[in-house]
């Protein structure tokens, strides 16, 4: 495990200091690749864009996923129905990830399903063109793919809350909103954190959705790694990889600060 997991990552850090020329790479240590990354707008821009898209996707998956999880976990009392609803959320997961991403193209395109429906109802005159091949389409695609990872853990934590706790609060005269704010939400927080970790790890390392739905206009850190490896620029790809690792480590540590997972689970 250590051999196949830690060694590749260590190698990546090492290679990021190698000397890269146009056609060859040598193991003389240098900081050149690192300087290129921070000096170039394209590459540094990719870092900020990755962070921006990550934050948006995280916020949207939480906003969309929490009510769904709340319904499944708290309002559906029957265990079987609960399971069926959760499975219904997971089923899309069973189609190839890449095909699911591609399925958004006919949805969002200029002559896509959404535009056709909106025009039929007379809501818009002209088809909306910004839907596909923009950052928006990348975000929509990612949200649909990853929102399930938010719903699952939250619903799990919500279903574990003891009903008598809520009854007690109600008997003491707490309103529904107060009960949610003071009891239900704090108790579901570990689920939120687990969901957020899943979503963050996957979105930060993502490149296929961006490649498929942005027409190669939106470049994330992952996309840069893929193109750099494609042109055999190993050292540079390694620099991007190390930066991505650092970002991810920071994010996960910050999330774990919020709750003590080992204690809660």
């Amino acid at each position: 495990m250590a051999l196949f997991l830690v060694l590749p990552l260590a190698m990546m850090v090492y290679v990021s200091f190698w000397t890269q020329t146009t056609f060859a790479i040598s193991s003389d240590l240098t900081l050149k690749s690192w300087k290129t990354f921070f000096a170039s707008d394209t590459y540094f821009g990719a870092l900020t864009r990755t962070l921006k898209i990550w934050l948006i996707v995280l916020a949207v998956t939480f906003a969309l996923g929490y009510p769904a999880a709340l319904f499944i976990g708290r309002y559906v009392k029957d265990k079987t129905t609960q399971t069926i609803l959760l499975v219904a959320c997971v089923i899309p997961f069973w189609t190839s990830f890449l095909i699911r991403v591609l399925a958004w193209r006919p949805m969002l395109g200029k002559e896509g399903a959404i535009n056709i429906v909106l025009q039929k109802f007379g809501l818009i005159e002209q088809p909306i063109e910004v839907l596909l091949f923009t950052e928006l389409s990348v975000i929509v695609g990612m949200v649909q793919i990853y929102v399930v990872f938010m719903v699952g853990p939250i619903a799990f934590m919500l279903a574990r809350i003891d009903d008598s706790l809520i009854e007690a609060a109600r008997d003491l005269g707490a309103s529904s909103y107060t009960i949610f704010r003071r009891i239900i939400f704090p108790l579901s927080l570990p689920g939120v954190v687990v969901g957020a970790i899943f979503v963050s790890v996957m979105v930060l390392g993502e490149f296929a959705t961006a490649a498929a739905l942005s027409g190669r206009k939106v470049n994330l850190l992952g996309n840069i790694i893929v193109t750099q490896v494609g042109s055999l620029k190993w050292a540079f790809a390694a620099v991007v990889g190390v930066i991505l690792t650092l970002v991810m480590a920071l994010v996960i540590t910050a999330l774990l600060r919020l709750v003590n997972l080992r204690k809660e689970l």
């Binding site: 495990m1 250590a2 196949f4 997991l5 830690v6 060694l7 590749p8 990552l9 260590a10 190698m11 990546m12 290679v15 969309l64 009510p67 769904a68 319904f71 499944i72 309002y75 609803l85 219904a88 959320c89 899309p92 069973w94 189609t95 190839s96 990830f97 890449l98 095909i99 699911r100 591609l102 399925a103 958004w104 193209r105 006919p106 949805m107 002559e111 896509g112 399903a113 056709i116 649909q144 929102v147 399930v148 529904s176 970790i197 790890v201 996957m202 390392g205 296929a208 490649a211 498929a212 992952g222 893929v226 490896v229 190993w234 790809a237 390694a238 990889g241 991505l244 690792t245 996960i252």
Partner: protein, 285 residues
């Protein structure tokens, strides 16, 4: 209480909208897979309903300018790879979880190390491994380097599933068998295995599907022979045709049949354990 039922209704409506959002693209994909071929593109409107693209995938369509999906070999490779990964990951996962039943020195570190395998993004691990392979002059192939990474990726899932099973497993029933003089192998076969079987099945299911659909790791370490996801990724660069959607529908059906088999096996094992319990009860009475 009235307030409560309003919330209930609102959330129920919300959940249905949410499910529509999850399934919308599939419906569109399903409809478009029946687009007329070979001129019809992957967009609305449907020129004429036909099964042309399904025939195109299966190789029955008359030759056109659109190259057929390179699925034959790729599919075979994908399935071989995921079956191999499934076996290795499930066995390793079961053994490791078995080891974790006792608290040993360094258990905490090893636990995090194993779980790290499913947390580290495929892009990073793929990149690192290909750098390593370059350095030591190892050829990158789908059955060597990519296979190793698939195991690193799926093994933690199998491990966690088995750990959850073993946590609920009562060691007394094994001890009882040993006390009665049953040899360890028979104990495992007759006592341990039937109890952990549902877990093993779930671990296999996880490992198979994750490996079958795994993409970023394979992209970097898979070498020249592509697996199924790589073949699909290859079509991103060029124009896409409805044959991809038809293929998507077919793979979805395939996954469903796999899930059904899993469900049936699970139900059968539950029924068996129930009937054997009632059998024991009858014996006692």
């Amino acid at each position: 209480m009235n307030n409560n039922s309003t919330i209930y209704a609102t959330l129920a409506v919300y959940l249905s909208l949410f499910l529509i959002f999850l399934y919308g693209p599939f419906v569109v994909m399903g409809i478009l897979s029946f687009q007329q071929g070979p001129e019809g593109g992957p967009q609305f409107p449907i020129i004429e309903w036909s099964t042309f693209w399904y025939k195109h995938i299966l190789g029955y369509a008359p030759p056109t300018r659109i190259a057929p999906l390179p699925i034959g070999d790729a599919l075979l490779r994908s399935i071989t790879l995921s079956i191999a990964t499934m076996i290795v990951s499930t066995v390793l996962g079961t053994l490791t979880a078995q080891a974790f039943r006792r608290n040993f020195k360094g258990a905490g570190i090893i636990f995090y190390l194993v779980v790290l395998g499913m947390m580290v993004p495929g892009v990073l691990l793929g990149l690192g491994t290909s750098l390593l392979a370059n350095q030591f002059g190892i050829d990158r192939n789908w059955w060597s380097t990519a296979f190793v990474l698939h195991v690193v990726y799926t093994f933690p899932f199998a491990f966690l599933v088995m750990l959850a099973i073993f946590n609920r497993f009562d060691p007394k029933i094994e001890e009882a068998a040993w006390a009665l003089g049953v040899d360890p192998l028979t104990t495992f076969r007759k006592i341990t295995f039937p109890v952990i079987f549902p877990g093993v099945l779930s671990a296999m299911l996880f490992a198979f599907t994750l490996s079958y659909d795994e993409f970023p790791r394979t992209l970097f370490t898979g070498g020249a022979d592509v697996t199924m996801p790589l073949a699909i990724y290859g079509t991103f660069a060029v124009e896409i045709h409805p044959n991809l959607f038809a293929f998507g529908v077919l793979t979805t059906l395939f996954s469903f049949s796999l899930l059904t088999v899993y469900g049936l096996l699970m139900a059968a094992s539950l029924r068996r354990s129930r009937s054997s319990i009632s059998g024991i009860q009858e014996d006692i009475e």
